[in-house]
Symmetry: C2
Subunit: 429 residues, 2 copies
Amino acid sequence: MERTLIGDLHTKVGQRALVMGWVSVRRDQGKMVFFDFRDRSGSVQGVALPLSGSIDAAKEVRNEYVVSVEGTVNARPEGNIKADVQNGDIELEIQKIDIISVAEIPFELSSETNLDTYLDHQPYTLRSERSKDIFKLQETIIQAFREEMKVQDFTEFQAPALAGADAEGGAMAFKVDYYYDKMAYLATSPQLYKQIMVGVYERAFTTPKVFRGEKHSTTRHLSEYSSMDFEMGFIKDHVDVMAVLEKTMRLIVKKTGLEIAMPAMFPVLKLREAQKALGVSTDELDLDPEHERALCEWALKEHGSDFIFVTHYPMNKRPFYTYEDEADPGYSKSFDLLFRGIEISTGGQRIHDYNKLVSNIKTWGLDPEKFKFYLEAFKVGMPPHGGSATGLERLTARLLNLPNIKEATLFPRDLNRIDTLLSTDKNTK
Amino acid sequence: MERTLIGDLHTKVGQRALVMGWVSVRRDQGKMVFFDFRDRSGSVQGVALPLSGSIDAAKEVRNEYVVSVEGTVNARPEGNIKADVQNGDIELEIQKIDIISVAEIPFELSSETNLDTYLDHQPYTLRSERSKDIFKLQETIIQAFREEMKVQDFTEFQAPALAGADAEGGAMAFKVDYYYDKMAYLATSPQLYKQIMVGVYERAFTTPKVFRGEKHSTTRHLSEYSSMDFEMGFIKDHVDVMAVLEKTMRLIVKKTGLEIAMPAMFPVLKLREAQKALGVSTDELDLDPEHERALCEWALKEHGSDFIFVTHYPMNKRPFYTYEDEADPGYSKSFDLLFRGIEISTGGQRIHDYNKLVSNIKTWGLDPEKFKFYLEAFKVGMPPHGGSATGLERLTARLLNLPNIKEATLFPRDLNRIDTLLSTDKNTK
């Protein structure tokens, strides 16, 4: 018999069907045994009746066993229908149940399970409906991001993860033992490459892993995360970039189907205006985490918005390629996008003039020679451009109000955590 | 005036339009100056007429300058129409040309430019139509891969790039200085994680960067490349996996619009059959590059196919999780997919039984303790499963018959080559 996906069982009422999947729950009720079976398409209740040919085999089966089940798809009696549950109107009466793989679970997963235990046992705990929903949402986000990028005429490219030198000399880049005595570094961002790609395709996007050796152990930092980056040419200023980002966020929210407060336009404040609204000194170069939270509360109360743009960070808080606002000297055409208490995106206009860029690299105390490859993009003609980067895991966590970013990360790596898996798919030639 | 994309100019014949883009070519003809302008949507010819207000400015403009051009969109006279060229029926008569950015090109790019020079100057050379076409095709491939995965009910996940140990102890993994005295390793494949994800979603895919410290300097190896991986549960055997891969290749080829020889079914040979067909000893554990080429020639001649599957590699040539064919002891339910002379995909069925897997890990001389995290997926119940990995750059190169894989790689890294760019998008908190 052909396998029927559990999600298609409702088309087979009154017929026999073959189901393959996992046992989510087994419940003994008197002489009957009930199961919740699941496969990639959903869940269904099964029952092994007393005196049936399947009852002895059914009693052997435990939670998480992988099984093959032949049975009859019965409509449930009126009083027994669960309208809000998938397949709540049917039940699989088990004729035959075969064990494909036995299972031994390490513990019963519950809302009480602490995070470290949860993470130590992800091969098991990720199977919960809650976890599956989190990473299904994450898939929806990244696919919606790409969809909007395509609509807006961006070209996808694959940014490199290995770089030959840490040209900026920040302490954040992980070092890699490259060949022989050479060192390499892991990319902390695809920034410089996506700017190069503006020279090629005018509008470019990429969704790479990036790596930050931050000695933080917090609820919002990761050593490795997924970045949703885009960069676009022929902009008037950073506001054009914000418009693309805002439109992208709207599609992401729409695709997730979540209720998010979004007015007709996301509110926009300069950093100094935000600081004044919060009663913080405008000498501060950035917002503290607690101020980010307070500002988001303010935006929700005053503007009915879960999102708020903060612009015009001080030039000396931003990297060398940041574009200074001629109308507001000392401040940059940059922005952060805050969402539900935390910065999820950063971006702005970049310098496109070759000479200005070389001069800024020197002002920042860096060596233009190390940026030779990058600078060639500017030497051969670059338009005004800008872009933005959004952290996939942070956005996932905030959309679902998860307190810790690690819950929104498959196999999170941080100061204290990294698992030990590594394998090639085959011996290579 | 609003900017008009060059691709939309045909809708504005007889009207004025504002175009922004790069100068691909400038040609002086007598007292007139002709240009090819390009933006993300395409190319158009512009002309500055003698005695026009724009002629003096036009004479300042050089190749790769970024310009803003106001002009009238004229229909070309009948005899001057180039039917096979975008905008070959119109011309932009330049009223005003403003320089946004000057440019100085390092050399004239031609088909004579050698590969090292081409790669050293990618920020410039990638702008050629040929390069843009290569990476547009690469975008089409990866997006078609994802599209087919969605159609076939796979869930996308983000595989980690950092691993805590090189559990297999191969020499190929790059070492990373993680925190304090800890070492980490760069993933050589998402293999073990995608198997874990089979336990979660039954069908999972991912398109990560993977890293191989192979001391090769060849036309087909890279230190960093993009892998298109999938893994699926509840298979009968490796043939189910091959069917999904074949269907995916057909969509990729269709989306690229290229002429590729594909019969109704891709030919399939066991390795030993392939060796016999080539007159090679069946004691060899794998095909040499020259035999891969010869086999592909054979497949094209005998089966009219640019693709050929080779199955049943010897067990001792494959990793510890490889599934042995009970009907053909010593040989595995594994396959390679060869395309136009080279292996582009590898895959097979994997062991799903926990005890068998532990025993194999020991037989391979490895330490089960190091695989504890991975093994938990099997302890809690795994179905029969298998999957496949396809190299994006190799496939791109072969589809376009590019002799060197580096031409199909943005910013290739190998034994001799790595550029020095690295930057964060902002200072972090």
